[in-house]
């Protein structure tokens, strides 16, 4: 009880701090405005690889700062002494810059350009500044200095991991309200609210060897690989090359007597002189798919000012297929997990080294280093040599046999062996650390606590190989018990890992191993002796969770900084039975932040392993999913950002339709002329006019979109027998026949007219939407079920234009247009075909009808389509030929009771249901779907069957899709016995007509049924499906 109260006190203190800051903030506004440009007081006067001649001014949180070309936002802010960048996700704790690269978890900012060009969640450690750069802190309100969300800190004792599963359940209907506030509090940055003006691009690339990473391993591998003379691609996510070697201490290691940066420069120059290698910077491999297929994102202009980037592509997605892949992805430094290890001013040791050596920025003036290994000593030496005071090095080890600790000793740097940091102080910036001695077995702390004042704490918990891409490719890991990390074990023969991503550390070892392995991998024998000077490294010790002097419940040892997951949360999850590592992850959200656990995952695993007493190797890891770092949606989509990439198919006559004011509808990928409104005409009026004209005079329709499949081969007739429900063997050459195609389950799938052009030659038509799937289905059957048939299918949909002319005058029009065919009924009856000439254009004319009128279809090579159409229009002028669109066509066929596959049918309708029993051959041995037609349910008499419907009020038009009932109830549910499939006002019959499928419909003719709409009920009577010209006289009119 008492402890609980005390911990509350601390948090009240934090709130006080926030308030205090607010007062300071308000009073400082004026001052800030006048003080326009801040000084670079943490920038060393020389050194580093930034371009000091190019000064850049930029804004952060409204204040203007300056930095240099080559700075990241992080390095430039640190140069100005700014550490506080953002607030954490849950507790809104102040957070600073933690790392120097892609693993950054704290320092996320909103980059601001304008509404359509703002980028949330950008890592300050990766984004390069340019003149005019502007960014803001996110997830805080009103400001990062004073953030009301920090009130959450006060409640932190009652909101541990998974608290939301345990509360917000009362009252039951209030979750929506709670959720509203939870959602507002959650999220990080803000989405753009307007369209993105930038351009994205794609590139496909094939190479012999892809090398990922340009550290000492990647560069060494490239040096060997270029000797093959084959096509090599080397990529690195950073703007410059060299990996972590690029910011190594200049004095401590040498390669062939060159300083690290000199060696990198020399190597890059040497590589660039080879024509067979392409080297890309700012290019991150996002995903590694099967068979060495890698997705990479290249940043081309995010580092440029608006002026410089004008007209340039923002990002390019590379799709690379590599014969061989060399992974040299390096390793990521780990933090240390102890109470309050998250304050601004606590940074990874390697990052601090990078800032001082590469950017010439000191991250603090009084530094404590906290380490478990020798690598942090290099940071200490770099800092010391550049005049930064090292207050102490706190090392959890008993001692080290390495050279660097010895050197630090010589430099007079205080080393506290076998000590640990147990706590840090400072709200928005660290100001001291609490240190205690570790017991022999590291399980607890002993002796007296003492404080060391500092403004920077560098932490180093060792390195974890970056095996993300390796495991994405299917590689298996093994846990290295001595070194506390997972490393590659087995993978495909066309891939190797080299350098620290393979668990190899130490410059000499990395370079030598890489040379040997690359030679072996590429079947070479090229050895380039390098003379490497480096410091001998000592042992490494590891403690996943450092001991504390407090009850663990009172501590906040962060594991996942961004999501505010502490070691206590992990313990709570385990205590509550969430034992699988995946459960721990999902319950505590550790590893689910935007860094996807790059910083904290190993500690989470380590803590679980310790508490559950399970070996790390048996525990396994959570799955590394692509992408390695977040991948811009725009880059994934490339040039198609502005519009969905699906081809627009236009008929050869499209231009004419456009010119004549047609409205179009999308049918599959096609644009089809829907109707042709005259001036001021509504769609309804246009369709009525077109339908009337087609029946009473002459109509013309562009039917080019219907699928056309050319079928040839000695078994073509047998093939059709198996594909369609009716018989085809006896169809005479020159005749056409309508066919229905079924699914395996006996349901209608597609329909169309097929014409026999020769002994072994047919042309099949399909529905517009079904063309592609019918073609692939038929190919599928041919190749897998009936390989014995000698049949060849060719899709010729795009090869022909089809002009359909109908109406009583159609014969006269055709006679004018196609001069060499005798159009007499005797010579050219319904359902037959003739070849003819339109001037010199060869054409196929079919006398078939979907409107019930006398009707001809002229098929010509597609590029003549428009000419033939225009000739028909010209010839039809005297008969007032009227172009009609798909809507009128649908109306006309409905008057005749003809079905549209996909409208009257929906995958549940058999030919018998359509009252088309006549089309099922009883004699044929088999056809697709035959067996299913004889199943108990398909044979059922009271299935839904196609009927006609007439509304009692002939003016009332039913809505397509409306449901039909026998009995209207005062409220739902009501028994639905069917639905309206097609419905129109027929101008030729002067009444409303509809087709419907109705349960037991065949027996209901004359019966009254009801269509209950939301506002009224419509009475209907079941009728025949054929509303007009039952005898079919008009076909020969």
């Amino acid at each position: 009880m008492k402890d609980g109260t005390m911990s509350m006190d601390v948090d009240v203190g934090l709130i006080w701090l926030e308030t205090h800051q607010m007062i300071k903030f308000t009073s400082s506004i004026k001052w800030e405005k006048s003080q326009k440009i801040m000084s670079n007081k943490f920038r060393l006067s020389s050194g580093g690889q930034i371009n000091r001649t190019e000064r850049i001014s930029f804004k952060f949180n409204g204040k203007t700062f300056y930095g240099f070309k080559g700075d990241t936002l992080a390095s430039a802010l640190l140069a100005n002494g700014v550490h506080l960048i953002g607030r954490s996700f849950k507790y809104h704790r102040p957070r600073g810059i933690f790392s120097s690269g892609a693993e950054e978890t704290n320092a996320l900012v909103q980059v601001i350009k304008d509404k359509g060009k703002t980028d949330p969640n950008i890592r300050a450690t990766q984004i390069e500044i340019f003149e005019g750069f502007n960014a803001e802190s996110q997830n805080c309100w009103p400001t990062v200095n004073f953030d009301l969300g920090a009130i959450n800190n006060l409640f932190s004792p009652i909101i541990p991991a998974g608290f939301y599963y345990k509360t917000f359940m009362w009252p039951a209907n209030l979750w929506g309200g709670y959720e509203h506030f939870i959602r507002k509090a959650a999220g990080l940055g803000k989405s753009p609210t307007e369209n993105d003006p930038d351009i994205y691009d794609h590139k496909y690339y094939h190479c012999d060897v892809l090398i990922v990473g340009s550290g000492p391993a990647g560069l060494s591998a490239a040096k060997v690989a270029v000797k093959t003379g084959k096509k090599i691609l080397l990529v690195d996510e950073r703007p410059s090359f060299g990996g972590n070697l690029a910011f190594a201490d200049e004095e401590l290691s040498k390669i062939n007597d060159l300083k690290p940066s000199e060696w990198i420069e020399e190597t890059c120059t040497e590589l660039q002189n080879n024509k067979n290698i392409k080297i890309l910077n700012r290019t991150s491999v996002a995903a590694y798919h099967n068979y060495n297929y890698l997705i990479m994102m290249q940043n081309l202009s995010d580092h440029l000012s608006e002026k410089e980037k004008k007209g340039k592509i923002r990002q390019r997605l590379w799709k690379v297929r590599a014969k061989k892949v060399i992974l040299a992805t390096g390793s990521i430094e780990r933090p240390m997990v102890f109470d309050c290890n998250d304050r601004p001013g606590i940074m990874l040791s390697s990052a601090v080294r990078k800032y001082i050596n590469y950017y010439g920025v000191k991250c603090g003036n009084n530094v404590v280093i906290f380490t478990s290994n020798d690598d942090a000593y290099e940071t200490a030496i770099s800092l010391h040599n550049k005049g930064v005071k090292i207050e102490a090095i706190v090392d959890i080890r008993e001692q080290s046999s390495g050279d660097l600790p010895k050197k630090c000793n010589e430099l007079g740097i205080k080393i506290l062996w076998k000590n640990t940091i147990i706590y840090t102080e400072g709200y928005k910036k660290i100001n001291n650390v609490h240190v205690m001695k570790l017991s022999n077995n590291n399980s607890c702390i002993i002796g007296n606590k003492f404080k060391i004042n500092c403004d920077l704490l560098c932490v180093s918990g060792g390195y974890t190989p970056a095996v993300h891409l390796f495991t994405q490719s299917g590689g298996k890991l093994t846990f290295n018990e001595g070194k506390y990390y997972f490393q590659p074990k087995t993978t495909s023969p066309n891939q190797i890992s080299v350098g620290s991503c393979n668990g190899t550390f130490g410059l000499k070892k990395i370079i030598e191993e890489t040379q040997t392995k690359t030679n072996e991998f590429l079947n070479l024998n090229h050895n380039d002796q390098s003379n490497i000077t480096e410091s001998k490294s000592g042992n490494f010790e590891n403690i996943w969770l450092l001991p504390s002097d407090k009850v663990s419940g009172k501590t906040k040892p962060f594991v996942d900084y961004q999501n505010d997951t502490t070691a206590n949360d992990i313990k709570l999850a385990l205590r509550e039975g969430y034992k699988s590592i995946e459960h721990v992850k999902r319950y505590t959200t550790t590893g689910m932040a935007t860094d996807q656990g790059k910083i904290g995952n190993m500690h989470a695993l380590g803590i679980v392993s310790e508490i559950t007493n399970t070996k790390m190797g048996e525990l396994g890891t959570t799955t590394f999913r692509p992408p390695y770092t977040p991948l811009t949606f725009g880059a994934v989509v490339g040039r198609n950002v502005k519009q969905f990439f699906d081809i627009v198919r236009k008929t050869p006559i499209h231009e004419w339709h456009e010119k004549n004011g047609a409205k179009f509808e999308d049918v599959g990928q096609w644009k089809r002329a829907w109707y042709y409104p005259n001036k001021n005409e509504t769609m309804y009026e246009a369709v009525q006019r077109e339908s009337k004209a087609a029946r009473n005079g002459a109509g013309i329709l562009d039917a080019s979109t219907l699928g056309k499949i050319d079928i040839q081969g000695s078994d073509a007739s047998e093939f059709l027998n198996r594909v369609y429900t009716n018989a085809w063997s006896k169809l005479a050459i020159g005749k056409c026949r309508y066919g229905l195609m079924l699914n395996d389950d006996g349901m209608v799938y597609d329909d169309g007219v097929t014409t026999r052009l020769g002994d072994n030659h047919y042309i099949m038509t399909t529905t517009t939407g079904g063309a592609a799937s019918v073609m692939s289905k038929l190919e599928d059957f041919l190749q897998t079920e009936w390989p014995e048939l000698n049949v060849y299918l060719t899709s010729v949909t795009d090869h022909f234009a089809t002009v359909s002319v109908c109406g009583s005058h159609s014969k006269k029009i055709l006679e004018k247009v196609v001069k060499n065919i005798n159009f007499s009924n005797q010579n050219f009856p319904h359902m037959s075909f003739k070849e003819g000439l339109v001037d010199k254009i060869k054409c196929r004319v079919m006398r078939i009808s979907f409107t019930g009128e006398l009707s001809y279809e002229i098929n010509v090579q597609s590029n003549y389509g428009q000419v033939v159409w225009e000739k028909c229009m010209e010839a039809g002028k005297e008969f007032k030929i009227t172009p009609y669109g798909t809507e009128a066509m649908h109306l006309l066929r409905a008057e005749k009771g003809f079905i549209i596959a996909g409208q009257e049918t929906d995958g549940t309708i058999t030919p018998v249901d359509l009252q088309m029993d006549w089309i099922i051959s009883k004699k044929k041995y088999d056809f697709i779907g035959k067996r299913s037609l004889y199943r108990s349910d398909t044979m059922r008499e009271n299935r839904k069957q196609l009927v006609g419907l007439l509304t009692n009020d002939p003016k009332e038009i039913l809505e397509e899709g409306a449901q039909i009932v026998e009995e209207v109830k005062s409220k739902p549910p009501m028994d639905m016995i069917g639905h309206v499939t097609s419905s129109y006002y027929s101008p030729n019959l002067n009444k409303s007509i509809a087709l419907a499928v109705v349960k037991n419909g065949k027996k209901l003719k004359g019966k009254k049924l009801f269509v209950p709409m939301s506002d009224k009920t419509i009475e209907v009577t079941v009728s025949d499906t054929v509303f007009l010209d039952k005898e079919g006289d008009r076909l020969n009119a």
Binding site: Y165, R183, D196, G577, G907
Partner: protein, 417 residues
Amino acid sequence: MRNKYSIFSLIKNSFTYHENWQRAWKDPEPKSFYDVVIVGGGGHGLATAYYLAKEHNLINIAVVEKGWIGGGNTGRNTTIIRSNYLWDASAGLYDHALKIWENLSQELNYNVMFSQRGVMNLAHNQHDVRELKRRTHANRLNGIDCLWLDTKQVKEFCPIINCSPNIRYPVMGSTLQKRAGTARHDAVAWGYARAADSMGVDIIQNCEVKGIKRKGDSIEGLETTKGFIKTSKIGVAAAGHSSVIANMAGLKLPIESKPLQALVSEPIKPIIDTVVMSNAVHAYVSQSDKGELVIGAGTDAYISYTQKGTHEIVEGTLNAILELYPIFSRLRMLRQWGGVVDICPDASPIISKTSIKGLYFNCGWGTGGFKATPGSGHLFAHTIAKNEPHGLNAAFNINRFVSGDLVDEHGAAAVAH
């Protein structure tokens, strides 16, 4: 008795630094005999065990899971919950589930975060309009809430949708089911597990079924990696691996398994307050409470048991997303993953007895099983306990593939379920 979760228990436990919370479920070793063994510790399996214990007075029940509970499609889906299905049988089934969802957090005393933020299904062509209106009418007459929105209303309800008539497939309207929404998928598995466990159900993780022992037409037990378990009733809820289990009993299921993918963006502040699905261009999106855009992609074109998919599917989906929501192009994909979905020829599930006495299957949910979890478990429990289907799942029997009495939901379900 298990402690109840509430704000008061959170406060109370804060004084002891949360060190006294009970386990949400035990992790027992299997006993040698159970009355019923459920194979598959996903939402469906755990819910089945829960309702067997709660409503059918069966206590001696085990759920065996080859990995960790909720690790299959329960933890991989895009958490959409709706019941606006076309056919009576489906509407009955999914609305039964939706009604249970509405009180599930309270029933389980575990907040599953069921968020009734509405689900829209967009129409992009005349055919879509006709089919979606048909569904709206059917829903209305089945007593299921469903509205039809025209393009203007679509824009009002979800302003970030690109309703320009000049895009490749313009938005021509939409259905809207307001009672529909999303839930927290992991919580569903954990909540059912905790509630079932507290009634005595044994939840056995890391226990893979290796064989089914039969005696004639009856079940004798299961061979597992944790030894033989004797039982006379086995309920299988193994999603993508249902066919594998069926094969062990000598059964063949009419199921194809394919990888289905999904992805999330980095978290952002609220930008979309509903769930929008589009079958025609194949893109659906919602925003998690954490702020990530949750985007469903399609299935790979071929059959496979791999839980990852190809890049090209993701590209196609994002392409459609960026046409409908062009403001999203600067957002970034944080994570992509896949799950193995079990698809029946009619896109409807199987909750059924089989020709083997004591062997029951709950599978074939394809791309849309999450939404049905509570209803599915409830009805499957009934079917197992009574050895006959509940009225609401009678239509989803396995014999329909012989008789032809299918519940064809391809129109309503397609891939985006």
